[in-house]
C-alpha cells in the first residue's frame, strides 16, 4: 500500500515541429488506500499519465515519488519491473497461450515463491475474484468479464502497493460493466490497495472514485471528490464533461462578498455564489444541471414559465426540452411519473444553490 506524489510532470511526444505536449505540468497527490480516477476525453493524456506512473515512459520534466522513493525523474526512471506495481490493461492482455492458473502464477514464479505457497496464493486470489474452478481454462474459453478478472487476479496476487487500471471496463457490455464496477469497488475496499483508474466515462468515475482528477488537453482541470467535481466544477470544461449541463448567458446585476444576483435574457433572475471579482454588468454563464431544474404545472406565482418542446422517456428518468420565452432551451430531467406533454406551458424552478457561474 502506498501513495503517489506527482510534481510538475510533463511529457511531450515527437520532436521539433511535430512535438506534441501530451501532458503538461501535472501535480497530483494520490493518497494511500485511495481509489483515484483520471477522467477526461479521448486524447487528454490519461494513458500517458498512467504509463508514466508505471515507468513505461520517462518524463520530460517533473518527478514521481511512491511514498518517499523517487521513481521517475527526467533521465532516471526505475523500470516497470522494479516498481512493484500492478497494472490491468484495457484489453486485459491476458496471455492467450497460458491457462488461467499459469497467467496468475507468473508473477509469483518470478518472485521465486515456493510452489506450494504459490498455489495457495493463486487459489486465494482466484477465489477473491470469483474464478475458482476455472484454473485450467485458456483465455479463449472465458467470457470478457472473466478475462478481466484474470487480469485483475494476475495483478493482485503479487500484492502490489499500487494498482493501475487503464479503462478496464470499456470493452464490456452495459450489464456486465455495471456488475464489474461494484466488484472493483468492493475489491479496493477489501484489499486497501491504492487504485489509479483511467476512464473517459464520467458515470463510472463518479460511481467508483474517492477522488477524481479531471483532465483536458494534457492539463489537470480539477481534482476533488465526485460530488465536488460534479456539483462544483472548477470551470466550463469540467462542468460540461461531468454530465449534461445547461449554460445560460446572463449578466451580473448585483455582487457582494462571493454571492450575487444575475439576470438572464428574458428576465430569469437567480441569486448565486459568484466567482471572485465579478462586478455588476459582467457577462457570465450560469451552468445548471438538468436535474436541478424542476417543472410544475403553470402557476401564476411569478416564477419563470417555459413551453415543453420535446420529451424523451429514458426509463428511470424523463427528459424535457423546455423553451424559455427568450428562446433559450433548457434540458430538464424529472422523475418519469411526472409527465408533461409537448406544447404544454410549465413553470420552472431553478435550484440556484446548485448552479455554477463561469465567465464565458
Amino acid at each position: 500500500m502506498a501513495g503517489i506524489t506527482i510534481k510538475g510532470l510533463s511529457k511531450r511526444f515527437g520532436a521539433g515541429e511535430t512535438a506534441f505536449a501530451a501532458l503538461t505540468d501535472l501535480d497530483l497527490v494520490i493518497e494511500n488506500n485511495q481509489f483515484v480516477t483520471l477522467l477526461g476525453p479521448s486524447g487528454c493524456g490519461k494513458t500517458t499519465t498512467l504509463r508514466l506512473i508505471a515507468g513505461y515512459l520517462s518524463p520530460d520534466a517533473g518527478t514521481i515519488h511512491a511514498d518517499d522513493r523517487l521513481l521517475s525523474a527526467p533521465g532516471s526512471v526505475v523500470p516497470p519491473e522494479a516498481r512493484g506495481m500492478g497494472m490491468v490493461f484495457q484489453n486485459y492482455a491476458v496471455w492467450p497461450h497460458k491457462t488461467v492458473y499459469e497467467n496468475v502464477v507468473f508473477g509469483l514464479r518470478l518472485r521465486k515463491v515456493p510452489a506450494a505457497e504459490a498455489r495457495r496464493k493463486v487459489e486465494e486470489t482466484l477465489a477473491l475474484v470469483n474464478l475458482t474452478g476455472l484454473e485450467s481454462r485458456f483465455p479463449n474459453e472465458l467470457s470478457g468479464g472473466q478475462q478481466q478478472r484474470v487480469a485483475l487476479a494476475r495483478s493482485l496476487v503479487v500484492e502490489p502497493g499500487i494498482l493501475l487500471l487503464d479503462e478496464p471496463l470499456s470493452n464490456l457490455d452495459a450489464k456486465l460493466r455495471e456488475r464489474m464496477r461494484s466488484e472493483l469497488k468492493q475489491l479496493q475496499r477489501r484489499t486497501g490497495i491504492t487504485f489509479v483508474y483511467v476512464t473517459h466515462d464520467q458515470a463510472e468515475a463518479l460511481a467508483l472514485s474517492d477522488r477524481i482528477a479531471v483532465m483536458h488537453g494534457g492539463r489537470l482541470q480539477q481534482y476533488g471528490t465526485p460530488v465536488e467535481v460534479y456539483s462544483r466544477p472548477a470551470n466550463r470544461l469540467v462542468a460540461d464533461f461531468m454530465g449534461l449541463v445547461n449554460l445560460i448567458p446572463a449578466r451580473v446585476v448585483a455582487a457582494h462578498n462571493g454571492g450575487g444576483l444575475v439576470e438572464a435574457e428574458g428576465g430569469l433572475r437567480l441569486a448565486l455564489p459568484l466567482p471572485d471579482g465579478a462586478a455588476p454588468g459582467d457577462a457570465v454563464e450560469v451552468a445548471v444541471r438538468p436535474e436541478n431544474i424542476r417543472l410544475r404545472a403553470a402557476s401564476g406565482d411569478g416564477a419563470p414559465c417555459a413551453r415543453i418542446t420535446d420529451r424523451t422517456f429514458l426509463g428511470n428518468i424523463s427528459e424535457y426540452y423546455a423553451t424559455l420565452p427568450s428562446g433559450q432551451v433548457l434540458r430538464v430531467q424529472t422523475h418519469p411519473l411526472q409527465q408533461f406533454a409537448p406544447g404544454e406551458t410549465v413553470t420552472i424552478d431553478i435550484d440556484a444553490a446548485q448552479c455554477s457561474v463561469f465567465r464565458p
Binding site: 494513458t47 504509463r51 508505471a54 515507468g55 513505461y56 523500470p79 516497470p80 519491473e81 522494479a82 516498481r83 512493484g84 506495481m85 500492478g86 497494472m87 490493461f89 484495457q90 484489453n91 492482455a93 496471455w95 492467450p96 497461450h97 507468473f106 508473477g107 518470478l110 518472485r111 485458456f138 483465455p139 479463449n140 487480469a151 494476475r154 495483478s155 503479487v158 470493452n171
Partner: protein, 582 residues
C-alpha cells in the same frame, strides 16, 4: 482489431445467394464455377493423372512402381536426403529468420534497412544462381575462399566443402530464411505491446518477457514460416542438381529428373512424385492443424507501440550477424557472378581477360536469349494476372459465401505450395499427353504450370486483403441495388487492389525464375529465361550464364519497380487503418 472469436467470425459472414437454390443462373455463380473448374484443371486433374500414371505398369494396373520406389535403395536414399535437407534447412531458416526478425522489430540494432534488404534480396535471388556462385567460392579444392583460407591465410581448417549436405543446406537456407523472417517480423509487429508490458510490471526482465511471452505468441507465424521453408527447400531442383550431385547427395527432385532422362520412366517418376506430394501435403496438414488449434491467439489491439529492447554492446554483435548474412547471402554470390560474367574464361588470369563479350553473346549472338526474355516476361505477366484473378475469386468464395466444401477449395489451392515444380510438370505431362488438345510443347502448358504452381501465393494474398475488407462494405452496395458484378467492380476489387498487386508480384518474381517445371515443359518456341540460363550452364558456358543471370536480376528488379509504380501507393494509405474486424 479485436479477438476473432468463432462467433464473431461466424456472424460476420454474410449469407450469399447460393443459400437460395433453384434461382436463375447468376453471374457470380458462373464466375465461381469457372474458378472452381480452373482449380480442378490446374491442381486436381494433374494430380489424378499422376496417380493414374503411377499405377499403370507394363502389365496393366499395379502397385509395382510404388513397390520399387518404396524399397529401392536408390529411392529410399533420395527420400532420406530430401527429408534431412528439409529438416536442416527448416532449422537454419528458423534460426536466422527469427534472430533477424527479432532484431529488426524488437531491438535497437543499427542498420535495420540493410537487414530488410538482405531478406528481400535473398528471397528474390534464384537459388540455382546462388548455387553456381557458391560452387565458385567453396568447391573444396579450387573454391576461391577455400584456396584463400588454405594457401594464403594458412588456415586449412577454415575451408568448407560446398559439395555436401551442409553446403546444400547453406545454399538452400539462404533462399528460404526470408519465409521465417517475413512471417515472424509481421507477427512480432502485431503482437500487442500490452502482453509484454503486463509481464514487465509483474517484474519480468526483458529477456524473460521475450522468452516466456513474446516467443510463444508468435510461435504460429514462426512455425508457418519454418514449414514453408521446409517444403520449399525439398522442392528446389536447381541447387540440388548443381551442388547435390557432385556431393553425391541425391534427392527426390534430382532422382525424378533423372527418371525423365531418355528413355523416360513415367511410371516410376509418377510414383516418386506422389511420395513427394504426400510429404508436402503432410507437412502442410500438420501446419494447418497446429495453426487452427491456435487460431484464437489474439494479436493486435489498442496497445501502444512495442518498446525497442536496448541491447547495449550486444547490438553490435547482432549487427555483425546481420552484416554476415548480407555478405554471405547477397554480396558473395553477386560479386562472384559479376566477376565471372566479365572474365574472358574463368580459371585464367582474371585481370588480363576482362571483357563484355559474354553480354554481347547472350544478348545479340545467341538468338535464344531474346526469345527467352520475351517469353518469360509474357508468361510471368499473364500467369501472375491469371493467378491473381483466380486467387481473388477463390478467396472470395472462401470468405464470403457459405458454399459447402469451400474449405476444401482453399485446401486444394494450397497443395501446389508443396508440389515441387518438377512434380507439377510430371503431373501436367501425364495429364495433357492423354488429352486430345495438343497443349504440350506450347506456351500454354507452361502457363498452366505456373498458374497452378503459384496459385497458393495469390490465393493467400487475396485472402489476406479480403479479410481486411469488412463484408458490410459489399453488403451496403448490394442493398443500394448493386449487382454482384457491380459490387465487385466498384467496391471489392478497388479495395483489395494493393493486396492484389502484392500478390501479382509474389507470383511474377518466381515465375521469371521458375526452372524445375519449365525444364520439363519448355519447347523450342517456348523457352524461358531460367531454362536458357540453365541450358547454358548445363553445356558449360559458365561466363555467359553469369551474364544472363545478371540480366535476369535486372529484369526482375525492373518489373518490381514498374509494378510498384503502377499498383502501389495512394489507395493503400487510404485503406489501411480502416478498421474492419478480421
Amino acid at each position: 482489431m479485436t479477438a476473432s472469436t468463432p462467433i464473431a467470425e461466424a456472424s460476420a459472414r454474410p449469407g450469399v445467394a447460393p443459400a437460395a437454390p433453384g434461382h436463375r443462373v447468376r453471374l457470380e455463380h458462373v464466375v465461381m464455377g469457372a474458378a472452381i473448374a480452373a482449380l480442378v484443371i490446374l491442381v486436381v486433374l494433374p494430380i489424378a493423372a499422376l496417380l493414374l500414371g503411377s499405377l499403370v505398369g507394363d502389365r496393366g494396373l499395379s502397385l509395382d512402381h510404388f513397390g520399387e520406389v518404396l524399397t529401392g535403395r536408390l529411392y529410399l536414399t533420395a527420400l532420406k536426403n530430401s527429408l534431412v535437407l528439409g529438416a536442416w534447412t527448416g532449422l537454419f531458416s528458423l534460426l536466422v529468420g527469427i534472430v533477424l526478425a527479432f532484431a529488426v522489430s524488437r531491438t535497437d540494432v543499427p542498420g535495420k534497412r540493410l537487414l530488410e534488404i538482405t531478406a528481400s534480396l535473398s528471397y528474390l535471388s534464384p537459388p540455382f544462381l546462388t548455387a553456381i556462385a557458391f560452387v565458385y567460392l567453396f568447391s573444396p579444392n579450387a573454391g576461391l575462399i577455400n584456396v584463400f583460407m588454405r594457401d594464403v591465410a594458412g588456415l586449412p581448417w577454415a575451408t568448407f566443402d560446398i559439395f555436401s549436405m551442409t553446403g546444400l543446406v547453406l545454399v538452400t537456407a539462404l533462399h528460404t530464411f526470408p519465409y521465417v523472417y517475413l512471417l515472424a517480423s509481421s507477427a512480432l509487429q502485431s503482437v500487442d505491446a500490452s502482453y509484454e508490458e503486463a509481464a514487465q510490471i509483474l517484474g519480468a526482465s526483458k529477456l524473460r518477457t521475450a522468452i516466456s511471452i513474446t516467443a510463444p505468441l508468435v510461435a504460429p507465424a514462426i512455425l508457418s514460416g519454418t514449414l514453408l521453408a521446409f517444403v520449399n527447400a525439398i522442392a528446389l531442383f536447381g541447387s540440388q542438381a548443381i551442388i547435390g550431385l557432385p556431393g553425391r547427395v541425391v534427392t527426390l527432385p534430382t532422382r525424378i529428373y533423372a527418371l525423365f532422362d531418355y528413355p523416360p520412366e513415367y511410371g516410376l517418376a509418377s510414383a516418386l512424385s506422389l511420395v513427394f506430394v504426400v510429404i508436402t501435403v503432410a507437412a502442410l496438414y500438420l501446419q494447418r492443424a497446429f495453426l487452427s488449434r491456435r487460431s484464437f491467439v489474439t494479436l493486435a489491439g489498442k496497445g501502444g507501440r512495442p518498446q525497442l529492447m536496448p541491447l547495449g554492446p550486444w547490438r553490435w554483435a547482432l549487427f555483425a550477424f546481420g552484416v554476415g548474412v548480407f555478405l554471405v547471402a547477397i554480396v558473395a554470390p553477386y560479386a562472384t557472378l559479376i566477376a565471372v560474367s566479365i572474365s574472358k574464361s574463368w580459371g585464367l588470369d582474371f585481370w588480363k581477360g576482362l571483357t563484355l563479350a559474354h553480354y554481347k553473346f547472350i544478348l545479340f549472338d545467341y538468338n535464344v536469349t531474346q526469345r527467352a526474355i520475351l517469353n518469360s516476361l509474357m508468361l510471368a505477366t499473364v500467369a501472375a494476372t491469371l493467378a491473381v484473378l483466380l486467387g481473388a475469386v477463390i478467396g472470395w468464395i472462401d470468405l464470403r459465401t457459405l458454399i459447402p466444401g469451400r474449405k476444401l477449395l482453399d485446401y486444394a489451392s494450397l497443395i501446389p505450395l508443396g508440389l515441387p515444380g518438377i512434380v507439377m510438370a510430371v503431373a501436367l505431362i501425364q495429364f495433357w499427353l492423354r488429352m486430345p488438345i495438343a497443349l504440350y510443347g506450347t506456351l500454354a502448358i507452361l502457363l498452366l504450370a505456373y498458374v497452378g504452381r503459384y496459385i497458393p501465393l495469390s490465393v493467400r494474398a487475396a485472402n489476406a486483403s479480403l479479410r481486411q475488407v469488412d463484408p458490410s462494405l459489399e453488403e451496403s452496395a448490394q442493398i443500394l441495388g448493386a449487382s454482384w458484378a457491380t459490387t465487385m467492380r466498384e467496391i471489392t476489387l478497388p479495395l483489395i487492389r494493393p493486396g492484389l498487386f502484392a500478390g501479382w508480384l509474389l507470383v511474377f518474381v518466381p515465375v521469371i525464375q521458375e526452372l524445375s517445371a519449365s525444364i520439363l515443359l519448355f519447347s523450342s518456341g517456348s523457352i524461358t529465361l531460367a531454362v536458357a540460363v540453365f541450358n547454358l550452364y548445363e553445356t558449360g558456358y559458365v561466363e555467359p550464364v553469369a551474364a544472363l543471370a545478371m540480366i535476369n536480376m535486372a529484369i526482375i528488379g525492373l518489373a518490381i519497380f514498374v509494378a510498384n509504380k503502377l499498383g502501389g501507393g495512394g489507395i493503400a494509405q487510404r485503406t489501411t487503418g480502416y478498421g474492419a474486424p478480421a
